[in-house]
Amino acid sequence: MINVVDLKKEYKTGKEVVPILKGVDLTIEEGEFVCIIGPSGSGKTTLLHLLGGLDTPTTGTISLDGSELTSKTEKQRTIIRRREIGFVFQNYQLLPTLTVYENIIFPLHADGKKASPKDVQMLLEAVDLVGYEKRFPHELSGGQQQRVAIARALIHKPNLLLADEPTGNLDRQRSSDILDLLAKFHYERKQTIVMVTHDMFAAGYADRIILFKDGVIEAEVKREDDDYAKFLARFMA
């Protein structure tokens, strides 16, 4: 589903060129739940932004379902994003002047489509926000806001859900709720999920964990591998 080849990204700060990604190769299969962990500044968030077409790489390619994302124009990437990709961010990033309902249907609206009330109702039930449709984001708790964000990321039935530290701003209990929700969508809808986190508790939900360090993939491990836990524990410790 996703194929990343020799991806590099550099940022210029003044005269200095700072490499963030130093050549990443990665393949993600349909229906996988992949977690990218690593220390802050390792480039994991940058990779996620590149996967979502929010940014363009310096060199290298990203293919999404066989079509190359990196050669597309800004507008084409936007259209791919609003049809194929759902985004969940650490800071929820809800639109303050829109109600819960309006926030959720925003990606469809951006694509000029109408939301089916049944779909919205189902999502509201799934994220347990029935009755909150007319509230504004500032009237909700952090966990509720993030649940709205998840509903918003899934309203257009994206092939790929990208989550950037979705539990970063939440306490343990609320972050567990959010992870449960992601697990449920992964299990019930075979939703492909790529999640960036530095939270071990979140990482345990994934089928595969990719460890990032200094702009390269340091190691990766699958749940069924024997030394899964040991391997991880070594890096996290």
């Binding site: 929010l54 049809r83 990033q93 303050p96 002047t97 309006e102 951006a110």
Partner: protein, 821 residues
């Protein structure tokens, strides 16, 4: 469903006060523009209407170079089959029976009319029946003489007639309003032709014959055939032309109206720009989120455009309503100032409304072009994840300062458009002026407000560009206010100088019949007269502009040796032997569309003729809408053998009074008019003086709009600094200190705007006084009263404008402010 209009509405009204003030600015901008356009169109319509009323529905008229001609000479014309309707008119002088020591006060001009039922004469009836044969007088005359319909009016040596109708003042008939005005103007009345001919012994004689052709006739061809029919005789035919330019130089007023409208819209646009720009900077993050969710740049621009649409739509609707009211008010004041009589006029509303609606709706979008582009280009990642979006303290932008210097340099060039650059330069250079002003204003603010004042000076640097532009708008308002009133003060002096230079003598006398040698000798012998010079003036010369419209002016004679007394040459070329030469007044030349050295075709009493435009000139005669020809050739070339005009020089201006009295007593029956130079000066300057108050008021309005800009800017400044202000409060600033701080910021902007505005105003006045293209009409004077009003108005409006934002800033809750994201 996501109703995007509702969402846009929520977005616009998120900061209610800011939206309200911006809306106010748009409303006022549109209102001022609408009122200016209404005033301009109504005024111009009024001028044309007056001419149209005089022309009636007639197509052509026949006159004689001898002043009168026997009516039966036109039998061939009256009986021709293309003739639909015709009417003969006779103008004669007479005097009312009344007690007065000044004969000219009783002077009456009769218009004898062959047919009272004709459609060719249009009279605005007030009372009575104008189609009934009898005496028709105007409203002013009725009041002055205390007469009403049915009363008898008697005329010296003539007889009595019953008043059958009273009409409003108009082009056909107008009378003086007061006895003072009656000294120089006739009471104009209309009487049946036979009675006038009998009273004056002018049996069968008429002054002119107006007629209308059948609608389907070929007018151009018939005109030519009439011209050839009449060629070689005393008679000549002319089309009837509606052209008010000879009598009124109103382009100057239009120019002022346009200037004020543009200024108002410009300042409103700037305030709208400020709000939209700030709103987009503030919502950078939201826009980035939308883009991350699949909004394209186009989607973002459409969204923000809808918000601007609200502003534009509401602003235009309210602005138009207020503008209509304001326009009618201004129009009333204007007519009162310019016209000495009560005039009935129609307010022209539809066209100004349509223009204002279009501009009013579009300008907020124009003001939003750059912010919109910026919104569209908002980078997703930077917008969403950068913590600090606040503008950092910027150093003076060198490019901007250099561009400002260049524009100012261009602005110093002597050209009417160069002033625009001067003001662009002003806006560009304003951050620099603000820095300089800081040196002066800081101590004042510190003295006034203590530490709050000091803090305000620091805070102002945070959004320096916005503050500078806000002050710049005020400065432009103030400087134009000063310039306008300096212009209004010095224009009359300039006009007087011009009239004195080109009037050509002291009293201009026009007679109904040609001057004879004995007449001239009699005048010459009046005590106080030092010299007389008869001159030729051929009226009603018609011509086509380059765009094909018919126009009309007079050609006057000049003496080659003394031509400087008639006009000042602006441009002149070599003689052309093929055609007779004329000098054309600049306004006429511009209206025509041709250049010096071109050939101008005129319909003259000698038929259609071609002339060589030898030069363009500046003169006080006919507001410069006139042409001049050498006295040696004018009579032959134009088939105008008689002189009806004479210019009298007196020994000194005090003698004018006596000369006039003697003149009226001795030959009053035949004098059409006798206008001394003093009256001409007074007439042409009184209108300007009358407009002074109106202009002061309008410019105060402009300053008020700029003050709204200050309110808005302060609201935005405090909104951005909620956290900072909250922290200040937390660590010990009192509410009052916060309030003082914001007031001090407003005052800084206000003082900077006023001071720089005054300096630029004086600069503009100076540049105009040395300008060659302003033809020395303006002299360098500093209008102290206006300066005081502008300074006081600027400061008072600023204090008012600062009060609300400072009040709301002082109410910022410490707790909320500190948690503010």
């Amino acid at each position: 469903m996501l109703s995007s209009l509702l969402v846009s509405w929520r977005n616009v009204t998120r900061h209610k006060k800011r939206f309200f003030f911006t809306l106010m600015a748009v409303v006022l901008g549109v209102a001022v523009m609408t009122s200016m356009l209404i005033a301009k169109y109504t005024f111009s319509n009024l001028m044309d209407e007056q001419e149209r009323l005089y022309a009636g529905e007639a197509d052509f008229w026949v006159q004689s170079n001898a002043g009168f001609f026997p009516e039966n000479e036109l039998m061939w014309l009256e009986e021709s089959e293309e003739m639909e309707e015709g009417v003969g008119l006779l103008f004669q002088k007479g005097f009312l029976e009344m007690e007065t020591e000044f004969p000219q006060q009783a002077s009456v001009r009769f218009t004898g009319v062959t047919d009272f039922q004709t459609n060719l004469i249009d009279l605005p009836v007030k009372d009575g029946d104008v189609t009934k044969e009898g005496l028709i007088i105007t409203e002013n005359a009725a009041k002055l003489l205390e007469k009403k319909v049915g009363d008898l009016l008697s005329f010296q040596h003539m007889g009595k007639l019953e008043i059958t109708a009273i009409v409003h003042e108009g082009a056909m008939l107008t009378s003086p309003k007061t006895m003072d005005a009656a000294m120089i103007r006739d009471v104009q009345v209309m009487v049946p032709m036979e009675i006038l001919q009998e009273w004056t012994g002018m049996e069968n004689q008429i002054s002119n014959f107006r007629f209308k052709l059948q609608p389907d006739s070929n007018k151009d061809k018939l005109f030519e055939s009439y011209q050839s029919e009449l060629s070689g005789s005393d008679l000549f035919v002319q089309p009837i032309v509606v052209d008010s330019k000879q009598n009124n130089d109103v382009e100057g007023i239009y120019y002022v109206f346009d200037l004020i409208a543009i200024l108002a819209i410009f300042i409103s646009a700037f305030i709208a720009f400020n709000m939209i720009h700030t709103s987009i900077v503030e919502r950078k993050k939201e826009i980035a989120i939308m883009k991350s969710l699949g909004y394209t740049s186009g989607n973002v621009i459409r969204l923000v455009s809808k918000e601007i649409g609200f502003l534009a739509f509401m602003g235009t609707i309210f602005g138009l309503s207020i503008g209509v009211w304001l326009g009618i008010l201004i129009q009333d004041i204007l007519i009162g100032a310019i016209s000495s009589q009560k005039v009935v006029y129609d307010v022209v509303i539809i066209k100004p409304l349509i223009i204002s609606a279009i501009i009013g709706f579009l300008f907020p979008f124009l003001a939003a072009i750059f912010p919109l582009r910026r919104a569209g280009k908002t980078p997703i990642l930077a917008g969403m994840f950068e913590k600090n979006t606040a503008t950092s303290r910027t150093r003076l932008n060198i490019v901007r300062i250099i561009a400002g210097m260049v524009c100012t340099g261009i602005g110093l060039i002597d050209n009417i458009w160069a002033f625009l650059f001067l003001f662009i330069g002003l806006v560009l250079l304003f951050p620099l002026w603000m820095r300089l002003m800081q040196i002066i204003i800081s101590p004042i603010l510190t003295a006034l407000f203590g530490f709050s004042g000091k803090q305000a000076v620091h805070s102002l640097k945070q959004s320096e560009r916005r503050n500078a532009s806000t002050a710049a708008m005020l400065a432009i308002g103030v400087s134009l206010a000063l310039f306008m009133s300096a212009a209004l003060q010095s224009l009359p002096d300039g006009k007087e100088e011009e009239i004195r230079a080109t009037f050509g003598g002291d009293i201009q006398v026009e007679k109904e019949t040609p001057w004879t040698d004995s007449d001239l000798a009699a005048v010459k012998n009046i005590e106080g007269v030092s010299a007389i010079s008869p001159f030729t003036e051929v009226p009603h010369i018609t011509w086509h502009t380059k765009s094909g419209d018919l126009r009309e002016f007079s050609i006057m004679s000049f003496t080659a040796s003394e031509r400087a007394e008639a006009f000042e040459v602006i441009e002149e070329v070599e003689e052309n032997v093929e055609y007779p030469s004329i000098y054309v007044g600049e306004r006429a030349l511009i209206e025509w569309g041709g250049d010096v050295g071109d050939i101008l075709t005129l319909n003259t009493p000698a038929g259609e003729q071609q002339f060589y435009v030898k030069g363009s000139v500046q003169t006080s005669h006919y507001s410069n809408y006139v042409a001049f020809m050498d006295e040696n050739s004018i009579k032959d070339e134009l088939n105008w053998p008689h002189d009806y005009h004479v210019m009298i020089d007196v020994v000194d201006e005090n003698a004018i009074y006596n000369v006039l009295l003697t003149l009226w007593n001795s030959m009053g029956e035949t004098i059409t008019s006798a206008i001394p130079i003093t009256v001409t000066i007074e007439q042409s300057t009184s209108a300007l003086t009358g407009m002074d108050d109106l202009m002061q008021g309008l410019l105060l309005l402009i300053i008020a709009i700029s003050a709204i800009g200050i309110s808005n800017t302060l609201f935005m400044n405090t909104m951005e600094r909620v956290k900072e202000i909250g922290t200040m409060r937390a660590i010990g600033f009192t509410k009052r200190q916060v309030q003082f701080m914001i007031m001090a910021e407003g005052l800084f902007i206000g003082i900077a705007g006023v001071v720089v505005g005054v300096l630029y105003g004086i600069l503009v006045i100076y540049l105009n006084s040395i300008s060659v293209s302003a033809q020395g009409l303006l002299s360098f004077i500093i209008p102290w009263v206006s300066l005081l009003i502008a300074v006081a108005g600027g400061i008072i409006f600023t204090i008012l404008a600062s009060w609300l934002p400072s009040n709301s800033a002082s109410r910022i809750s410490i707790k909320e402010a500190i948690n503010y994201e």
